[in-house]
């Protein structure tokens, strides 16, 4: 049955089709044919959009957006991958086809900075009063940010001698 | 005479012990040890030693004082194994009137707290009062009609002669005990002070000394409600210890009934009160009137 699906998809769209193992399929497609592909695949029984995720390929200067789709009748999981440019990350929304995509795209907008045209609800979601670059990008340094905003106590040798003294007193060594 | 003056405060102290017993019984039913039975005394003393944190307006501070005054005034008319401080013809209705001042004071005070949960709690409390007051009053009327007196002390003395009113007017006693269950504020009728739904309703902004005053009011209200019921239906008491024993037995039975039931919705509770206890009370009134008014 994977052969039938492969023939259907490759007949209509220029896609790369790969069967990873039983019930897992990876499809790579270019960014202009994502929305037609989604409406076509929804009519074939893949009615559940599980999630949308994003990967930051900083060396190739691209974002990769992955759509996870599931069909209850065939029990197949499709991972649909597209690449968009990293310098001006603009894409189209999938919420006309799957209404639940609005929330996933809101999160990707906040964490990666991708602008989904047509999504009316790209407002702050998890972070409050955020004033830096989107934190899931690979050029954001969380350790530097944490050290400059929050104070923490370093575990020096002095602290360790105190801990060993307490452990010896309690007989726990 | 001095005992009669001190009796309201002794009754409030005993009410705190009753609340402690209620927590102990509740814990033992759930297969765990509970707090000691004098735990509520520690609670009230601790609450009186805290400072207030919320300041909302004049009536917010005056409401608890009004409710404590109301309950002390009502407790001065209740006979506890002897004559109370004031006793005259018609004091049954005066007592029932004064018993409403206390929740009214709490409602006024909580209405001025700027919290929507308090308003929801007061609305539920007043709706519930609309439900249970009418069967309670109609259940009391047959006694007044048959015995031709409205003085509680005389009703008690007539019961020593004729037998307890719970045997003479069983249907009215049944209606009144269901209404009594709601007056005590136990499950399934504790909608006003529902800790998990509306964060204890009218008490939500009170902390510290005002909460201590409101706990004393609740303790006094337990004894007032069960005391009225014991005096009117169970023949009063010949001394203070029999009074405490009888009120504790009634409180214990109602507590056990409340253990197995969840909380009703306020609309369902109101419909229940206007169907069953009201019907039973009217039936009891009819039976008493037909049975002969001498």
């Amino acid at each position: 049955m994977y052969e039938d699906l492969k023939k259907d998809i490759q007949g209509k769209f220029p896609a790369k089709f790969e069967v990873i193992r039983e019930r897992r399929i990876k499809v790579s497609i270019d960014k202009n044919s994502v929305l037609p592909f989604l409406s076509y695949i929804k009519s074939k029984g893949f009615i559940h959009l599980i999630s949308i995720s994003c990967v930051d390929w900083i060396k190739e200067n691209e974002f990769e957006i992955v759509y996870h789709l599931w069909s209850y009748t065939d029990e197949i999981h499709i991972m649909l991958k597209t690449r968009i440019s990293r310098k001006k990350p603009i894409f189209e929304t999938a919420s006309e086809i799957y209404p639940v995509a609005q929330t996933f795209e809101r999160e990707i907008h906040e964490m990666f900075g991708v602008d989904f045209k047509g999504n009316k609800r790209q407002i702050p979601f998890i972070l409050e009063d955020w004033d830096d670059i989107p934190p899931m990008r690979k050029d954001f340094d969380p350790l530097k940010y944490a050290k400059s905003h929050f104070e923490t106590e370093e575990y020096t040798e002095e602290v360790w001698t105190k801990v060993r003294k307490i452990q010896k007193f309690r007989g726990e060594e | 005479m001095t005992w009669a003056i001190l009796m309201p405060f002794i009754l409030m102290f005993a009410g705190l012990l009753y609340m402690g017993f209620a927590r102990k019984i509740h814990a033992r039913i759930q297969k765990r040890y509970g707090p000691p039975f004098y735990q509520n005394i520690y609670d009230v003393i601790k609450l009186f030693s805290k400072r207030e944190a919320a300041f909302h307006g004049g009536m917010f501070h005056f409401g608890p004082v009004l409710s404590l005054t109301g309950i002390i005034m009502a407790l001065m008319f209740l006979p506890v194994g002897g004559k109370p401080l004031f006793s005259f013809q018609g004091d049954l209705f005066v007592l029932l009137y004064l018993a409403v001042i206390a929740p009214w004071g709490m409602a006024l005070g909580a209405g001025n707290a700027e919290n929507p949960l308090a308003s929801v709690g007061i609305a539920r409390a007043l709706t519930l009062m609309l439900g249970y007051e009418i069967p309670f009053f109609i259940g009391i009327i047959p006694i007044v009609v048959r015995t031709h007196t409205t003085q509680i002390v005389e009703i008690i003395q007539l019961q020593q002669i004729n037998g307890w009113n719970v045997i003479l007017f069983p249907i009215s006693a049944l209606a009144s005990i269901i209404a009594l269950h709601a007056m005590l504020g136990n499950k399934p009728f504790d909608q006003p002070i529902a800790p998990h739904e509306i964060a204890s309703g009218p008490l939500v902004e009170y902390g510290g000394k005002y909460l201590g005053i409101l706990q004393l009011y609740q303790a006094g209200a337990i004894l007032l409600s069960t005391g009225i019921y014991v005096d009117l239906f169970f023949g009063g008491a010949s001394n203070v210890w029999m009074f405490f024993l009888k009120t504790f037995l009634i409180y214990f039975v109602l507590l056990l009934i409340g253990e197995v039931l969840p909380r009703f919705r306020i609309g369902d509770a109101l419909k229940f009160f206007w169907k069953w206890p009201l019907g039973i009370a009217l039936l009891g009134l009819l039976v008493a009137v037909l049975g002969g008014v001498r």
Partner: protein, 172 residues
Amino acid sequence: MSGIGKTSRIKSLWVTYYVTGCGGIELLPVITSRFDAERFGIITSATPRQSDVLVVSGFLTTKTLRRIIRTYEQMPDPKYVVALGACTINGGIYWDSYSTADKLELYIPVDVYIAGCMPRPESIFMGFAHLMAMIKGDKADGWKRYHENYKWYKKNQDKALGNSKKWRVRDV
């Protein structure tokens, strides 16, 4: 604070459990029938305005830290704070994250720390016993420290949590 007043503060502690993260899962056996905490007088209070103790268990994101500070300022004096778990002591396993604050004692005064990830119910009871001993010896004065050093606490809060007019209840 004389004898009966102090004894009643020890024997009836009303607690607000602020469960921010994973620490709350070990509190459930403590307050229900397995390890019964009500026999010591420790019950859950309905609102922060009625409680004495604030138990902070779990990691402190910036979003919840603003709400914790507002809750702490709503409680009436005298009040105590118990910090549960390793994330409130020095950051725990989330110490290098961009959204968690590390040390709780820079933002509100803490009286008792209970170490562990998560601490077992027996450790939580030992922590409460330690708090009761501190109240008896007049050492649990975190609320006084907050009033006296408010400027220092406000400086730390502003540095970590940003703009101060939006979420603060009072401005000293």
